[in-house]
Symmetry: C2
Subunit: 362 residues, 2 copies
């Protein structure tokens, strides 16, 4: 018997650039000229707003645009396969570039396409939503849904750069802007009390462009440091899931009643999970009440906005997730305002108590 | 404007284990007990031969088997999606394992599924063909075909281990065994004259198990060193493509006449490309003739076995590939017997001359 030992190491690096009016000045940030051709992937909401700006500023490039329908429905293997065929017909290769312009759906889908077409072509993320700016467009998670299984097929892949133009938030509707803010508040809760207090000091729409740049930069720095330490989420990266165990279940359930945006569901999830932190003595009663007030002040929901006959549908959804984690839910819970633990085990009865804080039983 | 610089490094390592009767003694090589469940992916040819052996030796594990139809047709996004749904229904997670038993189709497809299901679950390759043992099952290339575009969708992903049981070659039919030998001969041509002479010293079926272990180990060591240096094929890994520029075109063309196996087409491709090396003075006339004799002695074809009215269909297929390499074919050509250059530019007229060496014009 013989053994051949194989070792493969790799290093990838890229910049996240945050500013104003970057879309019109992209050439000064990323040199697109070396690429033989470009495919711009965007959605039906974003295309009318920014596609022309991009095309006008890059007349010298060979560009094809591919517009998908806005919304989660486009995160499917069918749409993925469509784009793969498009790339093959265009003779796309490794010296070509995919530019994703939009929110999380576009960057998740476009990143997955790019990382698997001919085993990987370069891609650039230009984020136009709060959630994209502080979460989806960076960190390297790509993927699509597999029927009702969210993000079940995908890769870890890093873009050549992430461009965040906070000016584009002006065209984002208020509900989406507020919902995205839930992730910003989450970053404060898990990593910095002063940041948490600052980002909840006024309504999300009242921050100036220069304040937004500071805020987005902090969130990106946080995500960067966590992802660098643990790209594949085997340890510390899990703290980014605070609010998401309950949040995902609330989001899924809401589709049967009155659909919530991801960030809205996460806000409700953070209330329930902060309650678990309260029962463990990690935060105080006044801190818990203050958190709810700050979320409400930001325009975010703190309770599920439709009544439920009982908790069963909600606990069933959380349990379904549990099966995928080896029979026991491992929670990411704040250990104080501005710090977070992961892989915390909690009694089932405590979980029920926590859910009661966010559900109106009828 | 702010910039956040992200750096991600990773290191993956695994063993390739080569021996006899390993399938029945797998437990001594890889400890499967830590895995919560196992999916065995295999094909309709291999399942009747080895699936029961595997199941009998792992009664204590929670195992599901998934048998795909043998042949290249299973390397499709449709089959890929089927398996993804199967895994989701089984509640597969990162502590589960996919075991690929078979040749290149199984390891390419299974590796792609594993590397993208929930952004990556572990997989083990157990190779049962010559080509799988010396090429497909190692090196980390995974993928499926996109219609007629071969291997257009996939990833670079490393298995937890590769198990090569040369005993399984006894059940492989002669044509496939001989065809796979073309890749073994290629390894000699590009890297070692003495290895080249040894592996062509008798017919591929006349090597003993212990000789096979030595041969497969050499080929794995070679592939390991090349892949470690250049995983994503931006430089030295290209030398593994010797014989493949013409070989791929011959293989595609053969489907319209009389289908050739990949290795058979590569043997013909090596003759044409060795002729290019001859015209550059890299090898001598006697060395070129000797190469043809050695390939023929191994039972491999050295000319396209069907007549063509002209060279156009063949050059068109090579040109189609050319588009994907920025307008000029970059050849990997031997620089002597046992050494290889990459990114060599050759005159079109020379290419035509080389093709004339392997085509009967009618």
């Amino acid at each position: 018997m013989k053994t051949v030992a194989v070792r493969i190491s790799s290093m990838r690096q890229y910049d996240i650039v945050i500013g104003t009016d970057l879309l019109a000045n992209l050439a000064s940030i990323v040199d697109l000229r070396p690429y033989t051709q470009v495919l711009v992937l965007t959605d039906s909401h974003v295309a009318p707003l920014y596609l022309n700006t991009f095309l006008e500023h890059h007349r010298h490039l060979r560009i094809t645009s591919h517009v998908i329908e806005a919304g989660e429905g486009s995160k499917s293997l069918a749409v993925y396969e469509d784009i793969q065929h498009r790339l093959a017909a265009l003779n796309f290769d490794r010296r070509s570039l995919i530019v994703n312009i939009g929110g999380g759906v576009v960057s998740d889908l476009g990143g997955f396409v790019a990382s698997t077409y001919r085993r990987g072509v370069p891609f650039l993320n230009i984020s136009t939503t709060v959630e994209g700016m502080v979460d989806a467009s960076l960190g390297g998670k790509t993927g699509v849904n597999l029927g009702s299984y969210k993000n079940y097929v995908g890769t870890y892949a890093q873009p050549v750069a992430v461009v965040i133009d906070v000016t584009t938030l002006r065209t984002l509707d208020e509900r989406n802007r507020v919902a995205g803010w839930a992730e910003v508040i989450k970053h404060g809760l898990i990593a910095s009390r002063s940041y948490y207090e600052m980002v909840t000091s006024k309504h999300p729409l009242r921050f100036s462009d220069s304040e937004l740049i500071e805020i987005v930069t902090f969130s990106c720095e946080l995500k960067r440091s966590v992802v660098q330490e643990d790209e594949s989420e085997s340890g510390v990266r899990k703290i980014l899931n605070f609010g998401h165990t309950v949040g995902h279940a609330v989001e899924s359930l809401s589709y049967q009643h009155m659909p919530l945006l991801h960030g809205e569901a996460v806000a409700i999830g953070m209330v329930a999970e902060a309650y678990l932190a309260l029962t463990r003595g990690a935060i105080s009663g006044p801190e818990y009440d203050d958190l709810k007030a700050r979320l409400a002040g930001a325009g975010l929901p703190t309770r599920i906005p439709f009544p439920l006959p009982d908790l069963t549908p909600l606990t069933a959804l959380i349990e379904a997730d549990k099966k995928n984690h080896g029979g026991q839910i491992r929670w990411s819970l704040i250990s104080s305002i501005g710090a977070c633990d992961h892989d915390v085990i909690v009694d089932d009865s405590r979980m029920v108590e926590a859910l009661c804080q966010v559900v109106d039983l009828r």
